[in-house]
């Protein structure tokens, strides 16, 4: 029998109609996640053409992108300040009701960033196909799913037919051998991968990450890695399910229970790529050589170790990026001043990320003049963090503690920085103006972000860690 990759196994199991030279495959979608920003126009098409949602039970909606993180606006003490956001929230509430879709609404205790709540609820399960009108849907690949972002027209296709027309992508194996050094995070790992293969390095491909360093990662860390696959241009990122995956999912509200759980695990164990399965391309990295990373430019591929320097020269895009960032070629990164620190987003807003940041901030204060925003990935993460007293650590350090949402990662809800400000952010994109017009984003992991908040400058977080803290996570 042919040796198959994880990707090929999932693809084949979801082919309603295989692709031909003339027509793409009709691919079945197990779980469709919906949010307020990329869905209104899709529902409008269904309404216009009087088409129902084919599988409401395979559709889960939440509010995250344009929603406020201010408690009063979330829980109704005051109205949502941004009128357009209020309109999108109302529109999704109306659409969910009309099309019988479950919506984890603004005040729902399970609401959160769409890519945080899917796994948290156990809705994300190995072997599934998962889509959402959001490019960071690749996050769910951490569970051994084929998960990718789609446009709004395709959101309509899935609502109407539970299927998508897709050409089979190529496969790229990213093999990470060795072990991450202490004080080096999954975010540093994936930034190093993007630095290596470039922002278009994964174009047309689905990445499967494997190797000893990947197997050693927790689910939170695997999600961080798969989340950033799109920043390498890849269609999706995947990691084969294993005991770490099953331990995470066991007893989650939507995970199978009892004998169904046993049967599911039996099926999931068949998913990993077969020995001898071939990939279209393979890239190998040594984890032990990776250091805490930070971006210096205007795409995630413009990245360097924080202890290092900005390259001496590059192409026109490099020159343009440095002009935007106000940096010069060859400058040292450590020591550069910072105005704002953001801990949050579908990349790094889970409990372990907040623990890491709080670990550095405990007993310390953020530097004078620095603004720090900590936005948990979901209401459940928020409650879990509060049960451990992390919110008090953040408050005592001088940081703002908010309700969950995408917040300053995309800056649609009013959580933005000012033009010219340097923002060290645990999010996924450092594009021009991403966190507000004229803002300058530097992407990093939670420890590096917290260290920058404490010193007010770019700082290697290992300098602030004791021997115990530097052991990861």
């Amino acid at each position: 029998m042919t040796a198959l990759t994880l990707f090929e196994k999932i693809w084949r199991a979801h082919e309603v109609v295989p692709e031909t030279a003339d027509t793409p495959a009709v691919l079945y979608i197990d779980l469709h996640l919906v949010h307020e920003v990329t869905s209104p126009q899709a529902f409008a098409v269904l309404r216009e053409r009087a088409i129902p949602v084919r599988r409401p039970e395979r559709t889960l909606a939440t509010l995250d992108h344009s929603t406020p993180t201010d408690p009063q606006q979330v829980f109704g003490g005051v109205p949502i300040r941004l009128e357009a956001a209020a309109r999108q929230v109302a529109e999704l509430e109306r659409n969910a009701a009309e099309f019988s879709i479950e919506l984890l609404g603004l005040s729902d205790a399970r609401r959160g960033i769409v890519h945080v709540i899917g796994p948290e609820l156990g809705a994300t399960q190995p072997g599934m196909t998962i889509v959402c009108g959001d490019s960071h849907t690749s996050t769910h690949g951490a569970f051994g799913t084929l998960a990718f972002g789609i446009g709004t027209t395709e959101v309509g296709h899935v609502l109407a037919t539970q299927c998508l027309l897709q050409r089979k992508p190529k496969t790229l194996a990213v093999e990470i051998d060795g072990r991450l050094a202490s004080g080096v995070s999954a975010k540093d790992l994936v930034l190093a991968v993007i630095g290596e293969i470039g922002v278009a390095g994964g174009a047309g491909h689905v990445i499967e990450y494997h190797g000893a360093a990947i197997r050693a990662l927790s689910m939170d860390e695997r999600m961080t890695v798969c989340n950033m696959s799109i920043e390498a241009g890849a269609r999706a990122g995947m990691i084969a399910p294993d005991e770490t995956t099953f331990e995470y999912l066991r007893d989650r509200p939507r995970a199978p229970k009892g004998s169904e759980w046993e049967r599911a695990v039996g099926n999931w164990l068949k998913l990993p790529s077969d020995a001898g399965a071939t990939f279209d391309r393979t890239v190998t990295l040594d984890a032990s050589r990776i250091e805490p990373m930070i971006t210096y430019g205007t795409n995630p591929g413009m990245v360097a170790p924080i202890s290092g320097r900005i390259p001496e020269r590059g192409d026109e895009a490099f020159d343009k990026a440095l002009r935007y960032m106000g940096f010069a070629p060859g400058e040292a990164l450590a020591g550069k001043p910072v105005n704002v620190v953001f801990i949050g987003s579908c990349t790094n807003s889970r409990l372990s990320d907040l623990r890491t940041a709080a670990g550095l901030l405990r007993g310390r204060r953020i530097a004078r003049g620095v603004r720090m925003l900590v936005v948990p990935g979901s209401q459940q993460v928020k409650r879990a963090a509060e049960a451990e007293g992390l919110h008090e650590v953040f408050a005592a350090a001088g940081a703002e503690w908010r309700e969950s949402g995408c917040s300053m990662c995309i800056g649609m809800n009013g959580d933005t920085a000012a033009a010219g400000q340097y923002v060290v952010s645990t999010s996924n994109r450092n594009f021009e103006g991403r966190q507000g017009q004229g803002t300058r984003t530097l992407l990093a992991g939670p420890a590096t972000a917290a260290a920058a908040a404490i010193t007010g400058r770019l700082t290697d977080p290992r300098e602030l860690m004791t021997e115990g803290e530097a052991r990861w996570p």
Binding site: V16, T38, S66, E91, T153, E154
Partner: protein, 192 residues
């Protein structure tokens, strides 16, 4: 959808590489619930300064860019966010084709569903087009060729089904809905 067969126009050139969809349409314009009227937000932070005044040096603001329907862009155009607002904004502005050496996957897929042609050409043709803004060229979808001013024809690849849909004005949702018997059978088979 209206059929798309040919685009004949002068080009407007944006040589920047890795142009992400946050530049094509910044996130603050995504708070709309409609797909219309987004042309005003196209490249908003590159076209306008902080006071909303047009930046005269930006390619799309130059008088000769008026009426151009073909955008020639640097490699990896449309990377980043999956927002379909990016092709909506380009279409609303009047752009009907984007030419580059590489165009990001999700953007390409979204563009094709809105009658916007993603045209990938070889490096030599691309370099020539970048160096010669404003030339009149023709993109022919039927023959999958781009014709340069000197009459030279350059082939480009395009997904056959998307091409068929564009040429014949076929609606992809309609096609998917026609697959209902196969989808029913797939669901029944899985439930067993």
């Amino acid at each position: 959808m209206n059929p798309v067969r040919q685009v004949r126009s002068r080009t407007v050139v944006l040589p920047a590489t890795d142009v992400d969809t946050d530049q094509i349409i910044p996130a603050r314009f995504l708070t709309t619930t409609s797909r219309d009227g987004l042309g005003r937000a196209l490249f908003a932070d590159w076209r306008f300064d902080a006071n909303g005044r047009p930046r005269p040096e930006f390619a799309l603001n130059r008088p000769e860019a008026g009426g151009c329907e073909i955008l020639v862009a640097g490699r990896n155009f449309g990377c980043g966010s999956s927002r379909e607002h990016a092709p909506w904004a380009l279409c609303d502005f009047g752009i009907r084709a984007v030419i580059s050496t590489s165009i990001a996957d999700i953007f390409s897929s979204n563009a094709l569903k809105n009658g916007l042609l993603p045209v990938r050409v070889d490096a030599a043709t691309h370099t020539w087009l970048l160096a010669n803004p404003g030339v009149e060229i023709e993109i022919d979808l039927e023959s999958r060729t781009l014709t340069l001013p000197d009459g030279k024809r350059v082939p480009f690849p395009i997904e056959p089904f998307a091409r068929h849909c564009l040429l014949n004005g076929v609606d992809q949702l309609g096609y998917l809905l026609s697959q209902r018997p196969a989808i029913d059978a797939f669901e029944e088979h899985r439930a067993r």
